[in-house]
Amino acid sequence: MSARREAILALADGRIFRGRAFGATGEAVGEAVFNTAMTGYQEVLTDPSYKGQIVCMTYPEIGNVGINAEDAESAGVHVEGFVVKEYRARPSNWRSEMALGEYLERAGVVGIEGIETRALVRHIRAHGAQQAVISSVTLDPGVLAARAKASPGLVGRDLVKEVTCAESYDWELGDWELGAGYRRPSKEELRDAPLVVALDYGIKRNILHRLVASGFRVRVMPAAASAAEILAPNPDGVFLSNGPADPAALPYAHKAVRGVLGRKPIFGICLGHQILGLALGGRTYKLGFGHHGANHPVMDLRTRRVEITSQNHGFAVDAGSLEGRAELSHLNLNDKTVEGLRGAGVPFFSVQYHPEASPGPHDAGYLFARFRRLVEAFPRWGAEALDRIAAEEGGAAAR
């Protein structure tokens, strides 16, 4: 413990935290954000939406359950740096295959432990998310703070291009089951399933799992796919994924989505939801320090039911900017920000939070089933499809 290497976390505003290095040796730059989920650090590390960010876990004991192959949300680690209070080097869990430190080291990601994470969180809460540097090579706080200050922020940056896939591919794994892993649907099941094109802005695997488990054939396409490319395989629906950084910096995506809107049912999550908002002519803005956690209450305004949701976003859609084009469907009960939109006369819906969870509660999993119903209803009801299935759902709830 005492023999460990020193490391420093420096914020752009000059606040310094001293700790010990774990994971890779080196230096990392990114926006410092905190995540309040008490479980799921592996999912956080591998969520491409964290590209460009240094993540601090508010729960202090991290590393307890190690790392396993099943729980990765993408092929690699996407956080720029990882900040914890106490790193546990010896994991204890029947599925663990590797210690967290070793994993970060292999991925070349710099971690820092032994810092006062709560003080960091309070600082970010008071002063907003800001650029930061973690280093275990340079130990001069002044230099590091200057580097943090000089680094580009997330606003206006297209980080999607760094995490999206290079080429289209099909995804064929469904939900995870303890002991059995991810379920692979049969050929027959796949043959009869409707096709959804999922645009990969940095997609989390569990979204793909949930789509397959909801009875879709899934074709994943790169973020830059045009409307024509998206529509080429004649999909039954289009899904817009989560992803990193600034939704406003993705004009190509806005354009492609505009080209699909009204022609295919669309479901968007997180960045996908923001892109939809922008494609409709709305505005997005940056939140003070975002929502990153697994305990945010969101109300479905139609049913008045509250879902406990998984969240990870630094930007939000301005509700006022979409008047007449979309309806507010979900509201964050903590800060009253927009959590969901549904089309007014156009068959789409989207949520700011993460119904695929991973990490986090499964309360909002019903949205995948809703998307499946929407896709099925669309050929018959067209623009009315969304209202039709809403009425059916309402009836079911009343029964």
Binding site: E61, V65, E70, R90, R122, N295
Partner: protein, 1081 residues
């Protein structure tokens, strides 16, 4: 859906006396519920037989009934008060069981009372083990393979099907009462028998043993709109096999990935929906096979529980308060989160610290009880500690226990390696109350984590943390203790005292080094949200980091030190006093600061004081708070022995102690100084000597004459106190007691056989002393005052004698300069008054007296300590009520197989009940009913008393016979009764062979037992007492108790049992004269 408009009045049922498995957490939850519903303007009716609760304070409900918690009493209360609804989910298993009985007997329907929170169907589905099992299978969840048996034959069938080992769980008992593990057929047969006897519906669930699996709990809340949230996850350090109440538990869960945790969360949501708990909190327990992750559901409590109290304290989310609001119509999203104010209660708390709970046991109190843990709960209290890491919280919890532990001390120090290894392995594989310490020793002895895991089932993650603590101990031992090492040690939760032990220094030297290194704790807030939102409620814990979040303000403040973990001799009564002190002082304009580490209590509700420090009550931890807050004064006399022990050290460190000077306390507690005091005042005490060592004790006892009462000085609850009849007994005692009392001197006193014992509570302001109450014990002196029943006002003492007792009490209080409370215990022997003990502090009887006389003594005392005088407070004359109040004690013997139920000078009760009525007899009868002793109206009474008690037997035997009872007795007693010309059957002693008395008892042919212990035949009488206990037969072990029981039976037979609210007893008096809130300034 806000407040339901159709509800105007709600009946709440409390949990009755403190027993193992049901402690003050239900006062906490009930009090929260009352406060929350009060704010909604509902008319509240409360029933609880336990006077030592905050919830039974007459201000908290409109109608407060301190009555036996029986269907009969409840029916009368419901008939009088006509509540619209009954909330059964905040009073533990007692309230739930009573609600089931009221529903099933048709009472609720007859009076149109709606069950809110949980309907009968949901309660039964959760509580009935077979229904629950079927429900779980129905929703696709796994439960341990099991079968239900109502007879030995059925149990045999299950054994053949499932194979041993098996767990036997009686249905509908609390705290796993009667639960056990059987590993061989003989043991199985006996334990099934025991379990069937323990179950109110004579039914046991026999379950495949999953000992060693990981155990988890989730606290779940649901509202009427079906919104469900998880408040807290808890992981047990001790795996399956140890009752969760006896396990060390940690929040949040530490060793689950998100996927695994979400499976559990999903299951919890399905369970609460399937069971159909409408609103409120539930606790669901799961087990996970650590090799495969296979998960099974263990059980669900459809109500708030001990765990929900812990979860509330661990997260800052007030489960009971919210549950009460949900029950009357609110939705989770309509209720604000008190702590953040900005966000709703409809969310899942996230915490950025680790919480550890460690139970506290009382095996030393029960000779013959094995220190073994299993499915039946045995702990009497618990502590909780908060730290930024598990290691820190674990070590803080250890020193909170107050068992002389300052860290992970070795339990095998001094043993040779082979012996040490054998001892350690034995203590690892069989769960016991010291297993954590042996785990530390295992690491010291070099056992591999795999072996430790194999022996204990404890998750390697926890073992590693303990190993790191042990490894740090090694470095501290080897030194040098520089600033870096000291910082590391403090960050890992080491106490100064433990560091001192390891480094061969004294505590002050470590504190000094710490000061030199500028190492002081900072305080962080418990905020429900991991600092995501600002916290407005200063609920704080210490840690060694950089940023302090809650700098003190400049208001004049008073700090109240709580009582720490519940234990026998120090429990809810002291927490009651601390809460009253805080409430009264807050009202008087002070800022109040509470320090305590007991998660079950009302005092650790963040709503009670202006600031709550959830911290261990050690000198180091309290000083850290005192140095930062600089209180105008500290109250140490309300929390029992815990804070009292800190009085002198704190005073020496310059902390102002309020009220009676620590020196005066010492004068009363130090035997030699006390003798001088008694002599100076010309009072009388039983002749006694202070003995150091065996020779002095033997010589002293011979001088005084046997029997003698012997005990270590400075004890609470009569720890290690005994009456010994002769020198052999004295020598036997000393062999054990020297261990118990370390190097402290022993007191050897004349034992006043047959004396009447009296307790007097009084309050003094430095000038005026006012008597609170004079309580005459039912049992004779020699039985610990905490174990005896007592009556207020006294039932046999003459007015002149009472006046004399009050005179002496006033004299003592003046001499000691009492500012605050004082309790004096007297013995009346052959017409003379003897002083047994003086306690210049709050006593266990303060809540009882306050409720009996309708004056909140603890509040008045707190105000007096803060500088007010009694005449300004309007309390200048003793108040003698017209009604009679009787306090009766309840005991945990049933939890400790093989332990004798005989009472003596060492306290053994866990709680108390109160009976109030016009006459002593009826008040006593009510108290007995409340203590779950069903005084019989007819049948056969078995009597066996020792020779010296026969003189007082006549009126008892005559009384019983006159009421139509049959009598049965063994040889000597039977002859004696015959000689009184009273019919009496002679039955065999056990040693005389069948059919003997125990056979008759087992056959249900005995309705009550009167048995006073006979020194020669204790083995025989032991089996009688034990059988009576197991058969739930009323049994009297003293003649005075038997006499009172006969009077009680007569009262029940003659008089109508009537209920009356506390507000009626004290009507005008309380409101006009004594409620301090009416008398500001």
């Amino acid at each position: 859906m806000p407040l339901r408009k159709d509800l105007k009045s709600v009946l709440l049922i409390g949990s009755g006396p403190i027993v193992i498995g049901q402690a003050c957490e239900f006062d906490y939850s009930g009090t929260q519920a009352l406060k929350a519903l009060r704010e909604e303007g509902l008319r509240l009716i409360l029933v609880n037989s336990n006077p030592a609760t905050i919830m039974t304070d007459p201000e908290l409900a409109d109608r407060t009934y301190i009555e036996p918690m029986t269907v009969q009493a409840l029916e009368q209360i419901i008939e009088r008060e006509r509540p619209d609804a009954l909330l059964p989910t905040v009073g533990g298993q007692t309230a739930l069981n009573l609600a089931i009985e009221l529903a099933e007997s048709g009472v609720l329907e007859r009076f149109g009372v709606e069950l809110i929170g949980a309907k009968l169907g949901a309660i039964k589905k959760a509580e009935d083990r077979e229904l629950f099992k079927q429900a779980m299978i129905g929703i696709g969840l796994e439960v341990p393979a099991s079968g239900l048996a109502r007879s030995q034959e059925q149990a045999e069938g299950i054994r053949r099907r499932l194979g041993l080992p098996l767990i036997i769980r009686p249905s509908r008992t609390l705290g796993g009462s009667g639960g056990s593990i059987a590993r061989d057929p003989a043991e199985y047969h006996a334990k099934v028998e025991w379990g069937l006897g323990m179950s109110p519906n004579h039914e046991v669930l026999i379950e495949q043993s999953i000992e060693g699996w990981k155990e988890f709990e989730l606290e779940v809340m649901r509202d009427m709109a079906d919104n469900v949230v998880i408040i807290c996850s808890i992981e047990n350090f001790d795996p399956m096999g140890v009752h969760t109440g006896d396990s060390i538990t940690v929040a949040p869960a530490q060793t689950l990935t998100d996927k695994e945790y979400q499976l559990m969360r999903d299951a919890a949501l399905r369970i609460i929906r399937e069971i159909g708990v409408d609103t409120g909190g539930s606790n669901i327990q799961f087990a996970i096979d650590s090799r495969t992750g296979r998960m099974v559901v263990i059980e669900m409590n459809p109500r708030v529980s001990r765990s929900s109290a812990l979860a509330s304290k661990a997260t800052g989310f007030p489960i009971a308060k919210i549950a009460a609001r949900l029950a009357v119509g609110y939705r989770l999203d309509e209720i604000p989160n008190d702590i953040t104010r900005m966000t709703p209660a409809c969310f899942e708390p996230t915490i950025d610290y680790v919480v550890t709970k460690i139970p506290r046991f009382a095996f030393e109190k029960f000779r013959g009880a094995a220190d073994e843990l299993g499915p039946q709960m045995k702990s009497v209290g618990e502590v909780m500690a908060i730290g930024r890491t598990f290691k820190e919280s674990l070590q803080k919890a250890l020193r909170s226990l107050e068992i002389g532990s300052w860290g992970l001390e070795s339990r095998v120090a001094g043993l040779r390696e082979a012996a040490a290894l054998a001892t350690v392995r034995a203590h690892l594989s069989l769960p016991n109350s010291h297993r954590l310490y042996y785990l530390g020793d295992a690491v010291r002895l070099g056992l591999a984590r795999e072996e430790i895991h194999r022996l204990t089932g404890i998750d390697p993650w926890f073992i590693d943390a303990v190993a790191e603590i042990v490894e740090a101990e090694g470095r501290i031992k080897n030194g040098p203790l520089d600033a870096a090492l000291l910082r590391e040690a403090k960050e890992s939760g080491f106490s100064d005292r433990r560091i001192a032990q390891l480094a061969g220094l004294d505590e002050a030297a470590v504190a000094l080094k710490r000061r030199e290194a500028a190492l002081a704790p900072v305080f962080k807030a418990v905020d429900t949200c991991g600092a995501e939102f600002e916290a407005f409620t200063p609920y704080l814990y210490s840690t060694y980091e950089g940023e302090d979040e809650a700098p003190p303000d400049a208001r004049p403040k008073i700090m109240i030190l709580g009582g720490g973990p519940n234990r026998i001799g120090q429990g809810i009564e002291f927490d009651y006093c601390c809460v009253h002190a805080s409430l009264a002082l807050k009202q008087a304009g002070f800022e109040t600061i509470m320090v305590n580490c007991n998660p079950e209590t009302v005092s650790t509700d963040y709503d009670i004081s202006d600031r709550l420090y959830f911290e261990p009550l050690t000198f180091e931890d309290v000083m850290a708070i005192a140095e930062r807050e600089r209180p105008a004064g500290v109250i140490v006399q309300f929390g029992g022995q815990t804070p009292l022990k800190l009085a002198l050290p704190l005073e020496r460190a310059g902390v102002p102690i309020l009220g009676t000077a620590p020196d005066a306390i010492d004068r009363a507690e130090d035997r030699e100084r006390f003798n001088l005091l008694v002599e100076k005042l010309g009072l009388r005490q039983p002749r006694g000597v202070l003995a150091r060592g065996l020779a002095q004790a033997v010589r002293g006892a011979a001088e005084i004459g046997y029997p003698v009462l012997i005990r270590p000085s400075y004890v609470l609850g009569g720890r290690a106190m005994e009456v010994v009849a002769d020198e052999a007994g004295l020598r036997r005692y000393l062999e054990q007691a020297l261990l118990a009392s370390e190097d402290r001197p022993l007191l050897v006193d004349r034992y006043l056989q047959g004396a009447i014992e009296v307790d007097v509570d009084a309050i003094g302001d430095g000038e005026t002393v006012v008597i609170g109450g004079v309580m005459e014990h039912v049992e004779h002196a020699g039985i610990h005052s905490g174990d005896s029943a007592c009556a207020l006002p006294p039932r046999t003492l003459s007015p002149a004698l009472q006046e004399e007792l009050m005179r002496q009490t006033r004299m003592l209080a003046r001499e000691l300069g009492v500012i605050g409370l004082i309790n004096v215990q007297y013995a009346i022997f052959e017409g003379e008054v003897y002083i047994l003990e003086v306690n210049p502090r709050a006593s266990r009887t303060i809540p009882f007296v306050s409720k009996a006389i309708g004056v909140p003594l603890a509040k008045l005392a707190a105000l007096v300590m803060a500088g007010k005088n009694l005449s300004a407070l309007g309390f200048t004359a003793e108040r003698v009520p017209r009604h009679v109040s009787v306090k009766e004690s309840v005991f945990p013997f049933v939890r400790f197989p093989g332990v004798d139920t005989i009472l003596g000078p060492e306290m053994k009760s866990t709680g108390e009940v109160m009976g109030i009525d016009r006459s002593f007899a009826m008040a006593f009868a009510k108290a007995e009913l409340a203590a779950a002793t069903d005084l019989p109206a007819k049948g056969c009474v078995f009597i066996s008393v020792r020779d010296e008690d026969k003189a007082t037997l006549a009126p008892i035997a005559q009384g019983l016979s006159a009421m139509g009872f049959e009598l049965a007795a063994t040889g000597g007693t039977a002859r004696y009764i015959h000689n009184l010309r009273i019919p009496c059957a002679t039955v065999n002693k056990v040693t005389q062979g069948s059919p003997h008395v125990v056979d008759l008892m087992r056959e249900g042919r005995i309705a009550m037992v009167i048995n006073t212990p006979d020194a020669s035949g204790t083995a025989d009488s032991f089996s009688i007492r034990r059988t009576a206990l197991e058969m739930r037969l009323p049994f009297c072990t003293t003649m005075a108790g038997a006499q009172a029981a006969v009077e009680g039976i007569a009262a029940l037979r003659e008089g109508r049992f009537e209920v009356r609210a506390l507000q009626d007893y004290h009507q005008d008096h309380y409101r006009d004269n004594c409620a301090p809130e009416n008398r500001r300034g």
